[in-house]
């Protein structure tokens, strides 16, 4: 009996759902439906569940709950489409109108029925084509970077009716954020919708699991979702006491809060962040902030440059795809088939959080910059500068005294080195004795990082980047398979189908600075002047306490510990 160790995924907030959408899309585009294929290295059952709908059709859906505001779903019915329970309106008069049918059935039983309907929501062309078996979506050009209005536009995955949870108290608006404070998120958690219904949905997922590893919580870390998500983590700890891997995310677009100008918006984000980080230091097993901006405390900074990528700094659709690529890679460690038990969510979190260092940083290279005709051994030998780019705002890549967990993917073993007879120069390198990709990286890191410890996992499958992944972010120096080429340029109509990547989570003393700057900014905010926090129940003393705790938490990163 193979034991699948299940993980439950939670997504709180619109930008988190942008990322999540890409992530589930990436996973599903790597599914193989061909029974002849060798089983995938990835055990998809970790995050997916099998079910049956009322028509006795088998479904395979993410073990996911997501939360967003009313108005963010556009064409997507709240219960999803797999299990019925929503109507498709008649497009012409010939076929019977399903609405009329329901109305007539009801009228048979009682009095008049009045239909009050909102105009049918627009469907993105991509969604229309998904329903059209004649169209090959890979052949189309949807221009998603310019016309996506919300994540449901490019959602390829299909969800279980449990998955989508809509907050009716606040309305979705791309121009202003209405769900504003940590405290209003805390208040919202105390409503029946969350305290009973949402928790019960979590329980239903947990009940289905034989060997649940824990939860992974992706949430918007700048608005009211901070309060909602961290309250949820507290519930998870009380009820299940399993590992919680939290990923607070920052949108690259500084959408103003309702009734707030830009400085006020910045202040609210800083306060929410400080309160969230404090709570995370208590409730999460590990938390790794993510964002493509280099700074997010006060005023959003510049876009992080990733080699061979060209993305628009504030494009939600594109930036979320990069973050999703990171997530898909870093989480491989606990999603592999037949993995040793150290490859678990608890192991992953535990390895990185000694001395109470629950905050860690993210680093990523997509593509992993490797020439298409080069061996890994030479590639690493010639590498200059850091291997990857930080994706944790206000945090630099650590080099010394670090603990890190890496995952490299998409580099085949054949690309490691030359066989003996052709090895030539390579034989002179110490790395030549390495027989696997992970071993070679281990060795490299031992040399590159002083007094550090690295866990390296390697997976042969690259990140699939087919539509609806944003292909336009790849420069033309990348080949179809995502390697670099200095000579040939990829033609415009040729798509990159997959990219090799390297993702890391690092625990380093750099994070002390991250916390210190957050603390400094948060302390400068005059909380009494932000009435909306008080109005939602935050006491000044509580805020002060949270900041003090944050400072204590920072101390965990002070001394270089002994390994």
């Amino acid at each position: 009996m193979s034991t699948t160790r299940e993980v439950i995924a939670l997504q709180f907030g619109n930008y988190s759902n942008y990322i999540g959408t890409h992530w589930w899309n990436i996973q599903e585009s790597s599914f193989s439906y061909n029974p002849e294929d060798a089983p995938s290295e990835i055990n998809h059952d970790v995050l997916y569940r099998e079910g049956v709908n009322l028509n006795k059709q088998v479904t395979y859906t993410p073990r996911l709950l997501l939360v967003d505001l009313d108005g963010s779903l556009k064409h997507l019915p709240r219960e999803g489409e797999l299990y019925g329970n929503s109507v498709k309106r008649a497009t012409d008069d010939s076929a019977g109108d399903p609405l009329k049918k329901i109305k007539e059935d009801l009228e048979d039983l009682s009095t008049d029925v009045e239909i009050v309907q909102q105009p049918q929501a627009d469907k993105h062309d991509f969604q229309k084509d998904l329903e059209n078996p004649v169209v090959d979506i890979q052949e189309q050009n949807y221009n998603l970077a310019d016309n996506v209005e919300t994540w449901t536009d490019y959602l390829y995955a299909r969800y279980h009716p449990r998955t989508v949870n809509i907050i009716n108290e606040y309305k979705y608006d791309t121009e202003k954020q209405t769900f504003d404070t940590f405290s209003s998120g805390v208040q919202l958690w105390k409503t029946e919708q969350f305290e009973y219904d949402f928790c019960d949905k979590i329980r239903q997922y947990v009940e289905e699991c034989d060997y649940m590893q824990g939860t992974q919580v992706l949430f918007d870390c700048f608005n009211g979702y901070t309060g909602l998500a961290t309250e949820c983590m507290e519930y998870l700890n009380d009820e299940y006491s399993k590992a919680i891997f939290a990923i607070p995310v920052y949108s690259p677009r500084n959408t103003l809060f309702e009734n707030a100008d830009e400085p006020m918006t910045d202040s609210i984000r800083v306060v929410n962040s400080a309160l969230a980080f404090h709570k995370l230091s208590e409730q999460a097993s590990l938390f790794v902030p993510l964002g493509t901006c280099d700074r997010v405390w006060r005023q959003l900074g510049a876009a992080r440059p990733l080699s061979a990528l060209n993305y628009k700094a504030d494009n939600l659709y594109q930036t979320s795809a990069i973050l999703a690529g990171y997530l898909d890679t870093i989480t491989l460690r606990y999603r592999l088939r037949n993995a040793p038990s150290a490859y678990s969510l608890a192991g992953f979190c535990g390895d990185l959080t000694n001395y109470g260092r629950k905050l860690a940083s993210a680093a990523f290279a997509m593509p992993f910059p490797m020439q298409h005709d080069m061996d890994l051994i030479d590639c690493l030998d010639k590498f200059e500068g850091p291997l990857f780019t930080s994706l944790t705002p206000n945090c630099n890549i650590g080099t010394d005294y670090i603990i890190q967990s890496l995952c490299v993917r998409g580099i085949a073993r054949e690309r490691l080195k030359q066989p003996l007879e052709k090895a030539k120069e390579q034989m002179r390198m110490a790395a030549y004795k390495c027989d696997s990709v992970s071993e070679m990286f281990q060795l490299y890191l031992q040399c590159a990082n002083h007094a550090s410890m690295s866990h390296v996992a390697s997976v042969s499958m690259a990140i699939p980047t087919r539509i609806p992944f944003p292909n336009e972010i790849f420069t033309d120096e990348m080949t179809k398979l995502g390697f670099l080429s200095t000579t040939a340029r990829r033609l415009a109509e040729e798509k990159v189908v997959s990219v090799p990547a390297l993702a890391a989570v690092q625990s380093s003393s750099e994070l002390g600075d991250t916390l210190e700057t957050l603390h400094r900014e948060a302390k400068r905010v005059k909380i009494a002047k932000l009435h909306r926090f008080r109005a939602a129940g935050l006491e000044e003393d509580d805020y002060r306490d949270a900041l003090e705790q944050l400072l204590l938490f920072k101390d965990n990163y002070e001394d270089n510990f002994e390994l």
Partner: protein, 531 residues
């Protein structure tokens, strides 16, 4: 609004008059949307969202939640009305209608130059009088099935079709009677509502016991047991791979193994305690054993329990722990240290039912169930949701009656009686204030009028008939919706809750007065109008 004090008095007056006009039109607008819902003959509304989500309802509160109300006045009325629902579960439609009508009636006098202050003074007097009349017409009830059926059926027939309402009435009343102690209202949390998308709405039924939305997770576990001991507990039977550190920090593989084994043994011991108790109590008898755990049970533990013929469920709802103890007896255990027979509950039968990907477990034939489950059935989600809303209202109507120990004759009877009495009362009051009382009296008729209109009868004819008949009768007179003729609500068992009516009178007069005194409200900084 800070600048308002800088306006000259004339402009201020104009501004106030304008604001008042806006208030009145907003109230009317909301009234127009809601009026068709009132009463059992009100129109059912089928709301369809842009994405095709369906919601079917006749409930004022549900509609108010679904409507996107932008206008501040309208949303203030809506809030007053949903507050009404939060506290009593009923009367939202009447609240909206009555506020609108109070403003309309007041408007007639205001355009003739009457000051809003005078009107609101009249409202207050009228409200007090109306509350006294309410006390006069209330009918004390004995708490028995027949009386509760009347109030529940009246409520449910305003929400779902009559055939279904009759089924639900019995279900709701039986549920409350089953768990009621003394004459007091019950804790409605002890009535679990469980949904099953299956069959038809009229298959909804009361289970005198507990239904859970999960089942066994082991192929060899019994799916049905009779004569069962029930152990409810909150004890982990799951080997938690609780290792904090993994790869780096174990010196040797053996060290790791040892740790794992110790952990596993710890869990096994717990399982063995259950098995030992089961053997002691059940082996050689007809008795069987069921474990319902709030914590997890892993496959190895399930396997051990299955081998003993024990049925075990994991991850039960926290609230079901308490409910199970009330339904089956016994106590929910937090440890197995002193586990013995006295901790266990009993159920005549425990069985599993599978429906698509969902499993249900029924715990029935409990000796003296103090917690019950209403099993809601329906062919689709929107029917189930509609029934669930209706049942909540029905349960609350019954509970309100337990609290009040009395009911009010419905079908417009109270409003007609109050109208007649207020018109008499008005003549005893001196000065223009009486006009406010008259406006209030007229406004109350909005209820019988709309009950008539929604059944296809002429509003004026009906009011004439009803008010005349009421004057001739000591008992209050309401409208028979199937004939359009006056009738005695008591004869037809049409009852409303006392506290619902009371709250409607109170909140409507306050809100309407606030809206009328809009100029003063504005001066006060609009605080009561803002969110």
């Amino acid at each position: 609004m800070a600048s308002i004090s800088l306006l000259n008095p004339k402009a201020e007056f104009a501004r106030a008059a304008q604001a008042l006009a806006i208030n009145i039109s907003a109230a009317k607008g909301l009234q127009d949307v809601m009026r068709t819902n009132l009463g059992p003959k009100g129109t059912m509304k089928m709301l369809v969202s842009g994405a095709g989500d369906i919601k079917i309802t006749k409930d004022g509160n549900v509609l108010l939640h679904e409507m996107q109300i932008q206008h501040p006045t309208a949303s203030m009325i809506a809030r007053a009305s949903t507050a009404q629902d939060d506290s009593t579960g009923d009367g939202t439609t009447s609240t909206v209608l009555l506020i609108g009508e109070l403003l309309k009636q007041a408007d007639i006098f205001l355009t003739e130059g009457l000051h809003p202050r005078i009107v609101t003074e009249g409202f207050e007097k009228a409200r007090n009088k109306a509350l006294a009349i309410l006390d006069d017409v209330k009918i004390p009830i004995e708490i028995n099935k027949k009386n509760l059926m009347g109030i529940a059926n009246t409520s449910l027939r305003t929400k779902v079709h009559p055939g279904l309402a009759d089924v639900l009435t019995e279900v709701c009343v039986d549920a409350i009677l089953a768990i009621r102690k003394d004459e007091k209202p019950v804790d409605l949390h002890m009535v679990e509502l469980m949904e099953m998308q299956h069959k038809t709405a009229t298959d909804t039924s009361l289970i005198r016991g507990i239904v859970m939305d999960h089942g066994t997770r082991h192929p060899d576990m019994p799916k049905r047991l009779e004569n069962a001991y029930v152990l409810t507990c909150n004890v982990s039977l799951e080997y938690e791979k609780s290792e904090v550190n993994s790869g780096f920090f174990y010196k040797t593989a053996e060290e790791r193994e040892k740790f794992v084994r110790a952990e596993r043994e710890f869990i096994d011991q717990r399982v063995q305690k259950i098995i030992a108790l089961k053997r002691k109590l059940c082996d050689g008898t007809e008795k069987t054993f069921v474990v319902i755990n709030q914590k997890g049970i892993d496959p190895m533990s399930l396997d051990a329990l299955a081998k003993e013929g024990i049925m075990a469920l994991r991850r039960a709802k926290r609230r079901n722990m308490e409910r199970l103890a009330l339904a089956c007896g016994g106590t929910a255990m937090n440890s197995f240290d002193d586990l013995d027979e006295s901790n266990l509950g009993y159920a005549g039968v425990v069985y599993e039912h599978v429906l698509g990907e969902n499993k249900y477990t029924f715990v029935e034939e409990c000796k003296n169930p103090q917690s019950v489950t209403i099993l809601i059935k329906g062919p689709n989600k929107h029917t189930i949701v509609q029934i669930k809303d209706a049942i909540r209202d029905g349960l609350r109507a019954i509970n309100n009656a337990l609290l009040d120990k009395c009911v009010i004759p419905g079908a417009g009877a109270f409003e007609v009686r109050a109208y007649n009495e207020l018109m008499k009362y008005k003549d005893t009051v001196k000065g223009k204030v009486r006009l406010g009382i008259q406006a209030f009296a007229e406004a109350l008729l909005v209820v019988p009028k709309n009950l008539a209109i929604n059944s296809g009868y002429d509003a004026q004819d009906t009011i004439v008939k009803l008010t005349e008949e009421d004057r001739l009768n000591p008992e209050p007179i309401g409208l028979d919706l199937s004939t359009g003729e006056p009738m005695k609500p008591v004869d037809m068992s049409v009852y409303d809750n006392y506290l619902v009516k009371k709250q409607i009178l109170n909140s409507c007069s306050v809100i309407a007065s606030n809206l009328l005194l809009v100029d003063e409200v504005m001066r006060a900084g609009m605080t009561s109008l803002k969110g």
